[in-house]
């Protein structure tokens, strides 16, 4: 049993070079390539991204109005709405529905927000069977692990891993043939869909004007979860609304292109209320749980724009840090650049203060974002807040900067400080380079050498030449 390391640096150290990190890298590079190909094949893409950004920012600025309208419309369509301040309230509501309807078996389609509130764990603890039906999530659930990528949760598993897992947990003969593994999963999950009393989905977009919810999947499990069982519970982060059906179309135009390079995902499934009189199938009951869980806090702060995120995963795929360390190093359900902002913005800097530092600030995430979120700016903001609130993860930085300020604010002290540099050059320099520094400074020279400071400081040379 390994103990989960508590800091990003420790988790990253464990992850670098691991199979998870390696497969995350391969997957991320592949998806980034597909996205770029889709962008080039669709000249209108950038124009569509601008429009998508405007829609999301406008919605956030008037979120209270749009949420009101959305809730009214869901109820008018015959659905139930519950407003949950946090995960505990959301779980409590869903548990009440489960108890009232004597639900024993729940099927789920992939949803980050239910991961965020650890819904499965809570429901299982109260004796309900919960089955994830997205193939990747199903694999992860069987293995008792956590997703490592927003849209490809089992990206770190090989076919052989999955074959052993299925043989072990489902009692089928071992195979590492991906086609055969898919067939096994399809047949197994079909029976489970049939037996399920309740389906839980996330929500990609809620439409305020009509009370519709849109669930986007490639596999079709999102459709089965919202069609086969008699009750459908949709859990929606409160920021996921868009004003109109036309706005929904606009968002769908950019979502799949950014995530996987597809023009549209295979299924954009739009649900408007429970089944209507005369409808042959679909759920008889619809519940929409609207979740805050830190979102109003994020909205009121400098991090407001992060709520425009549509969870496409494009920023993960281009991030050099994500590519190196993989999803698990972030320690949270939200990984990569977006996770480095979302996690502390929703859950507070304590204990997530080190995530905003897990970035090189190269800006690739901002460039690919379908809604143009300035992630580096928010990372810098969170870093400053971490320092202000004394959550700074690197303990030497603050005293170091204080020492520098003392040195830099008096001519004599400054001259003495420069003298230290010259001394360092003499002690550690070899033919103009510093190859190795001792103790705490050793990190600076582990992978490179530094140019040694000049033996005679510039100030002194200037003084000698100009006689000041």
């Amino acid at each position: 049993m390994t103990v989960t390391p508590v800091t990003f640096v420790e988790r990253a150290r464990q992850a670098v070079g691991s199979d998870v990190a390696r497969s995350n890298r391969v997957g991320a590079e592949r998806l980034a390539g597909l996205r770029e190909a889709a962008r080039q094949a669709y000249p209108a893409f950038d124009e569509m991204r601008d429009a998508a950004r405007q829609i999301r920012l406008h919605t956030l600025a008037h979120l209270d109005d749009h949420l009101q309208r959305f809730a009214d419309q869901v109820e008018r369509n015959g659905g139930h709405v519950f407003f949950a301040a946090d995960g505990t309230e959301a779980i409590g509501y869903i548990q009440r529905v489960i108890q009232d309807r004597r639900v024993r078996r729940v099927v789920k389609s992939k949803s980050m927000v239910t991961e965020e509130i650890a819904l499965n764990h809570a429901l299982e603890a109260s004796g309900v069977e919960v089955v994830e039906t997205d193939l990747g999530e199903f694999i992860i659930q069987l293995a008792g692990e956590h997703p490592s990528h927003i849209i490809a949760p089992a990206i770190h598993k090989t076919a052989a891993d999955v074959g052993r897992l299925f043989a072990d947990k489902l009692g089928v003969p071992y195979t590492d043939d991906a086609d055969e593994l898919n067939r096994i999963a399809r047949a197994h999950l079909r029976r489970i869909f049939l037996e399920a009393d309740l389906g839980i989905s996330g929500v990609n977009f809620g439409v305020a004007e009509t009370g519709s919810i849109c669930v986007v999947t490639n596999e079709g499990n999102g459709r089965l979860v919202t069609t086969a069982p008699p009750i459908h519970v949709a859990v929606m982060g409160m920021e996921r609304v868009v004003p109109t059906a036309g706005d929904l179309a606009q968002m769908l135009e950019v979502l799949a292109r950014s995530g996987t390079g597809q023009g549209l995902s295979v299924y954009s499934n739009i649900v408007t209320g429970p089944r209507r009189v005369g409808d042959p199938d679909g759920p008889d009951e619809l519940h929409v749980v609207i979740l805050d869980n830190g979102r109003s806090r994020a909205l009121a702060a400098e991090t407001a724009e992060i709520l425009a995120c549509i969870r496409c995963g494009a920023c993960l795929n281009v991030c050099p840090v994500y590519r190196a360390v993989g999803g698990h190093a972030y320690g949270s359900v939200y990984t990569g650049p977006i996770g480095a902002v979302v996690t502390p913005a929703l859950m507070g800097l304590d204990p997530w203060a080190d995530l905003p530092f897990a970035s090189t600030l190269c800006g690739a995430c901002r460039d690919v974002c379908p809604v143009g979120i300035d992630i580096p700016r928010m990372l810098l903001h969170l870093r400053r807040r971490a320092a202000d609130e004394r959550h700074h993860p690197f303990r030497w930085v603050a005293p170091g900067l204080r020492a520098y300020r003392i040195a830099a604010t008096g001519p004599w002290r400054w001259r003495a400080f420069l003298g230290l540099g010259a001394l360092a050059a003499r002690l550690f320099g070899r033919s103009g380079r510093i190859e190795r520094l001792p103790f705490h400074a050793s990190g600076w020279t582990r992978f490179r050498s530094l140019r040694a400071p000049a033996k005679k400081p510039f100030r002194r040379r200037w003084g000698e030449r100009h006689g000041t």
Partner: protein, 215 residues
């Protein structure tokens, strides 16, 4: 949390939010190159792994049923398919499974278990998108959602004149239609997953094959 308190908290946060000033834009309908809509649709459908047909829909369905070795299909009622299709399928020896699910939970389970292994589905479609090879399928009386979802093979009958340039072009005039039913789905090719080693696999939950018959 009480709704009013929840909304009040959101309102305070939204007023405090430092967001760029943004007006709600209308739908941006991109200026895409002129193409022959049918040809572009067929090409796009092929790219996402679907198959287009221009033959008589009855013949297409019967040939598929023959290949699959089935004499049943789950589909839309006759009145929602082009005239003569339903009768033609029956005449060819196919029988339609009833898609109407009872309202009680036990009845639902029993009914659904009766057709969950169906291999052939037949539906119409409201529109097609040439840019992406997508079809728009709207549920309602006589049009079960399951028909386009649970069979291994899904046949869609689409009128050529219903093909639009792209989702945005269609939504510009039909946005209301998106929500004018309890369920509307945009289907773009067969069900797919890349969840095992990023290798493309079809039919993990939904249809393995999508055939679009243009009429």
């Amino acid at each position: 949390m009480e709704r009013d308190a929840f909304i009040a908290r959101v309102k305070a946060a939204a007023r405090a939010a430092r967001l760029p000033d943004a007006d709600p834009p209308g739908l941006v309908v991109p200026d895409l190159p002129e193409v022959d809509l049918t040809e572009a649709f067929v090409a796009a459908l092929g790219r996402v792994g679907g198959v287009a047909h221009r033959d008589d829909p009855v013949e297409v369905v019967l040939a598929l049923a023959d290949r699959l070795g089935t004499s049943e299909y789950l589909g839309w009622d006759d009145e929602w398919l082009p005239p003569g299709v339903g009768a033609g399928l029956r005449h060819g020896g196919l029988s339609a499974l009833a898609g109407d699910v009872p309202a009680d939970a036990e009845g639902r389970r029993r009914h659904q278990s009766g057709y969950f292994d169906v291999v052939l589905g037949v539906t119409g479609a409201e529109a097609g998108f040439a840019e992406t090879g997508t079809v728009v399928i709207r549920s309602g009386p006589g049009r079960p959602r399951m028909a386009s979802l649970i069979p291994e093979v899904h046949v869609v009958i689409l009128a050529e004149e219903a093909i639009c340039r792209s989702l945005a072009h269609w939504a510009e005039t039909n946005a209301g239609a998106i929500v004018d039913a309890a369920n509307v789905v945009f289907v773009t090719g067969p069900s797919r997953t890349g969840d095992i080693e990023m290798r493309l696999n079809v039919g993990v939950h939904g249809p393995r094959e999508v055939h679009v018959v243009l009429v």
